[in-house]
Every structure is written in C-alpha cells, then in structure tokens.
Symmetry: C3
Subunit: 263 residues, 3 copies
C-alpha cells in the first residue's frame, strides 16, 4: 500500500477524534467531510471546556475564519493545551493580512504553540511570511509559485510543515517540496474547501505522526475526491454534494492510483 493509502486506511480503522475550533461559515462542511472520510469531528470552543476536549482528541484544528475576542481566548487555550498534551495541531490562518487584527491573532496563536502544519492559500502564506498587507479578503491574489520561497522560510523558522493550497498544492518541510496536482478550479467556487482541506490535515495528523506525510496525504485525498466529484457535477452545488459522496467512497487503492504527485 502506498504511504497515502496507508494514512487513509488508518483514518477508516481508527476514526480519529478531530477537535475543530473553526469558523461559522464552514463548520457544517468540515464536520460532514470528516464524517464522510471516516473521522470523528468534535466542535467545541467554550473557554470552560476547550482544554478537556483537546485532551481527549487525536488532533486539533484551529481556523481563524471568523474571529472575536472570546474565540481567540479559546484558540489560545486550546493551542497551549495541545502543546502540553503533545496533540498534533494544524493552523489555518484564514484572511491573515486582510486586517491588522488577523495578523496579530495569527502571531499570538503560533506563539502559544507551534503548529505541526500550517495551511493557507498563497497570499495567506505570504502574509505570514512577510507580514505584508495585501490579502484581498479570503481569496488568493498571488501566484502560488511566488509563495514557495515564503513558505520555505516559514517552515524552516517553525521547523514544521507548510501547505500552500491552489491548483497545485505545495507541501513544504525544510527543503522538501511535495506537490499534489489534482486541484480543480470548481473547488474555488465553493466556500470552505480550503477549511475542509485543513480539517482533513487534522484527520491525517490524528493517525500519522509524520506531519509532512499527513499533510501530503490530506491534500491527495482532497484532490482525488475533488476529481471524482467533478466528473459527476454540473456546477458548485452538485460538486459539493458529490464531494461528500466521493470522500465516503474513496478507497486507499483509488487514492493511490488517481493522485497526481511528485512524491
């Protein structure tokens, strides 16, 4: 079995509990994607319980899509607890650079605990790397290739794995650059596909210690399920529906045979 296939197989057999502190827009999507692929999602953000939930979870996903003061407190507590309990942690710095506040919050979270994986689009990763101020909303405004250098700096600084999502996904650890080339333009027409990718990294980190492998497997699962969905879809509405069906039906063998990668 290929290494990606093994990760998917592990998700199916272990059903990792993935703790998501994520934005309001995508909570339903990411929960459904995690269930469809075989993981077990939990969404909890109360300051009073967030540490308890981190402790019983296989991994932690923090996504800063919709921020507010209490949620930031909760994200920081969760990150600190993940550090204490060695719970693998993936961070999605949604819209970082679009406001001063987002940039500050992203820095606070990464100070509370170094994420094992950071996933963003090119402009978000550049914003983290350069703390530039050019993000246009939550969409990518730069060429993905341009962000690879920034991602590499970031990955070396934090000694972790950085994912740049786009038509081609780049997964970067040290000087290793893995690519997943199954990206589908329809995925950009549906809200929360990037957030779903981050949640998928959470599922993979819940069963696979090697963060680079977990991150690459997650992007492979997203890409292949996207291709499977696209074959049957007439637009973004049907794509989203078929995407869940595809996550449910994708087998380790299908993953191994359909992924387009340099790995």
């Amino acid at each position: 079995m290929s290494s990606f296939a093994t990760v998917l197989n592990q998700i199916r057999t272990k059903s990792p509990l993935v703790h998501n502190i994520t934005n309001y827009v995508v909570m339903n999507n990411t929960a459904n994607a995690l269930l469809a692929v075989g993981a077990s999602p939990v969404m909890a953000h109360a300051i009073e319980e967030v540490e308890d939930i981190v402790t019983i979870s296989s991994s932690l996903v923090i996504n800063m899509g919709t921020l507010s003061e209490k949620w930031v407190e909760s994200m920081l507590l969760a990150a600190e607890q993940a550090k204490k309990t060695n719970t693998p942690f993936v961070f999605d710095p949604v819209g970082v650079g679009a406001s001063t506040y987002r940039t500050e919050v992203a820095q606070m979270i990464m100070k509370a605990a170094t994420p094992n994986v950071i996933r963003g689009n090119a402009s978000e990763i550049m914003a983290l790397a350069k703390l530039t101020n050019s993000t246009k909303g939550v969409d990518s405004t730069m060429d993905t290739q341009d962000a690879i250098e920034g991602a590499t700096l970031l990955a070396k600084k934090y000694n972790n794995t950085v994912i740049i999502s786009g038509e081609t996904d780049f997964i970067i650890t040290g000087d290793t650059v893995s690519k997943i080339e199954n990206g589908n333009p329809m995925m950009a027409k549906i809200t929360g596909m990037g957030c779903t990718a981050t949640a998928m990294v959470g599922a993979c980190l819940g069963v696979e210690e090697n963060a680079h492998l977990a991150a690459t497997a997650a992007m492979a699962i997203m890409g292949v399920a996207g291709d499977m969905a696209n074959e049957k879809s007439a637009g973004p509405g049907s794509f989203q529906m078929n995407f869940y069906d595809s996550l449910y039906h994708i087998t380790p063998d299908m993953l191994a045979s359909k992924v387009k990668t340099n790995v």
Copy 2:
C-alpha cells in the same frame, strides 16, 4: 389515520413556530428540515429577546452542541420562560459527559425547566443518567440497549419522555418503551442528524400535547424520510439532499405504511 399520521398532518396544517437555540454546526440543517416538513423555524438566542421569542413560539428546542457563557445564559432564560408559559420543551444534551462543563450545563438547563422530552444517543443518555465521563466526542460509544435502563430511570425521575437514538430508536416514558426501527447507518455519516431529530420532536410537540406520541412520531418521520432518501442516494452528500426532499414529500399515509415500530 394512525396517530403518527395525525401528528404529521397537524404540522402541515398548523405550521408550528419552533424556537431553536441550537449549535452553529447544524442551524442550517435543522431550519431546512423544519421548513421541509412543514413547520416554521425561528433561531434566536439574544438574552434581550429570547423570552419574547419563547412566548410567541409553539415549542422550544435547546441543543447544547456548541456552548459558551452567553449562550448558556440564554438557554437558561429560555427554559425558565418555557416553564412560565407552558411551552413544550425538548432538550438535546449533545456531548454531555465529554467535559465537566457540559455535564454542569446540562444539569443547569434541566433544573431551570424539566424538558418534556430529552433526546440523545446512548452514551449521552447514560451520561445524564449516571453522570459517567465516558462520552467520546459526540458519537455514541455504547450499545443502545445498555442505555434503556438508564433512560427509564431518567424518564421516571423527571416524569418525562426520553429518546435514545440509534439504529433502533427507543422512546421511553415510565415503563412504556416504544421503538422505531427505520434507522439507517448513513444517518451517522452526516453531521446533525441527531440534532435534526430533536428539532423534529420540537415540531411534533408544537402540535401534539402527548409528549410520548410527539416524540415517537418525530422519530418515525425521521426514520421513514431516511429510508426514502437512502433509496436514491449514493453517499452522505446525496443522502442529505434527498432527506430534505423526502421530508417535503412524505405524506401521512406514507408515514403510516412505511414505519417499522412496535406501537
């Protein structure tokens, strides 16, 4: 017309206003399910208005899936108001037992007003009954049958109706145990199907005073609509879509003829 059929018919003719204080993950799903079946959902949680909304509603649904301090205040105010106005009230103790906080909140809510109906999976009902600490996230980790004894204790203590959801749903009031056996494994692969069941109990309580009948009818509607959806679905994405279509199309006659029950 069978008693379940009568309840469904009443929902269609009266379109009860169902006040939901529910979690972020499922708000959209539950609102759509209520609309599809013929009820009228309202989602409102502001401390400043929650009592006004309870007062004009046919029933109150409190679901503690995603908690935080202000929401708990709002749930307590709503429960107290429901008690004052004799508004039927169904409680969904999502994830109770997964954190100390959840257990405390569940107890506070049930102290503010005795729910006419409590709906949970086996582990949640057990957690309420025993205040054990073994819930794994929001999924059920115990055999449903094992929870019947706990549910009966609970139903007798509160003099109300307790539902244990699962492949077979058990609806328990005093020593009466009704069963709905239309449960479909696909329902566990979609987030919020349990929460939707609770909202459906809210719709039925809005038109039917007998809590045991309302609870049983709600689980029957969920189960039969689930069977109808499953016949046409390729996976969890298409199941969810077809489930709304089925709730819209299910007739009292179809409900009466397709339900699998000991009633």
Copy 3:
C-alpha cells in the same frame, strides 16, 4: 445588453468583495451563492477588524437574523464605517417586529447609516414602516401588496430603495415600483433564500451605483436562477443544490430573456 445583464456581467468581470455581517443560519448559503454568481464573499464581525474589512470591500451587507450584544456593536461600527467610506450598504431586518429588541436594533442600525437598500418580506417592511408588532417569526404573514404603501413611505423617508420579497418582488424608490415576477414557492421552503437575496443585492451594489437598478438586477438574478433550479428539482434539498449550479451557469443573455418584469 439589457441593464440587468450588464450588472451580472460586471459581477463576473470585477468579482466585487462583499462584506457580510450576517446570521449563523445562512452564512454558508450566502457565501456559496456569492461565489457561484462570481462575487467574492468575506465574513468578518470582530469589533477589532470590522472597520478594516469595510474599507477594503466593495459593499456591506448587514443581516440581523441572529443577534447578540457584540454582534450589534459590530454592525453599528460597520455601518458607521460604510458611511465614512461611502461603501454601499444593504440591510436585511430579519424578524423585525418579532421582539422589542429586534425593533430597537433595526432602528439603531438605520440611524448609524442609511442603508442604500433595505430588503425584507412584507411583514418585516411593514414592521419597519409602522413599527407594528405582528411579525410571526421570520416568515411573512401579510399580503405583499399591502406592504407597498409602507415600503414607499420608508423609501421616501430614507431616500433609498426598499425591496419587498415574495412571489412577486417589489423594488421601490420614490414613486417608482419595479416588479420581478419569477418568484417560486419552493424558495420559501429553504432557509435563507431571503438572506441570499440580500447578499445578491450586496454583489450588485458592489458594481452598480444606481441602487434601484442594483436591487432590481439582484432580484432578477435570484428569480431566474430559481426558475432554472426548479425545472430540475424534486424538492427543497435538490432545489438548493441546483440553485447554486444555476447561479454559476446563468449568463447575462439568459437573465435578460427569462426575467419577468415590468421594467
């Protein structure tokens, strides 16, 4: 090209950034509808960043579906910033009249900045016009025609455009009453279709200065996409899915040829 077609064309070419401060129930729907039609949604409500986000956006949408204290603060800050930056602003007074609080909040928001467009159902528009107290939840309980007089008073008082949604949509500015008659009963069986219409007004206001034209084009896009979706749908679940596909596929020519209007 007809004027509606030009507006749609502009959305596709400019991809306006639409800032939504909206309710939890519909965030996902409205983001997906905006993406499908070609706009770029951003959802942000933190007091710390809401002014920054207004400043970089093409338009502001405020929807008061699910209120709470912090969100109201954020809505007021955003409205004031929109006034300063001349950012076009559309307001959706969801459920106004259902509680005293909603009525007060609606008045505060409209005092902070006059909306360029207000969109509601007949009872909401009447509640704003008369500050009556007869709203039943978030559904319309009055005949749309009865609200036209109220809407005209409102539009003249605020010197803006008022939309009454229903089977026929009325778009009112001064003494001009435009109609879109593509309304489909299925749209009332899906949560958030009104909220989506408001977001669509946001997209149109982001590319078209004439508020009356922008509002009318938005309702035309909603109505024609609704008709396209309805032809292929078996119920509300499939309608919602097909609606996104239709928003994605609708061309300026299709819009111009299929719209039923007095314009």
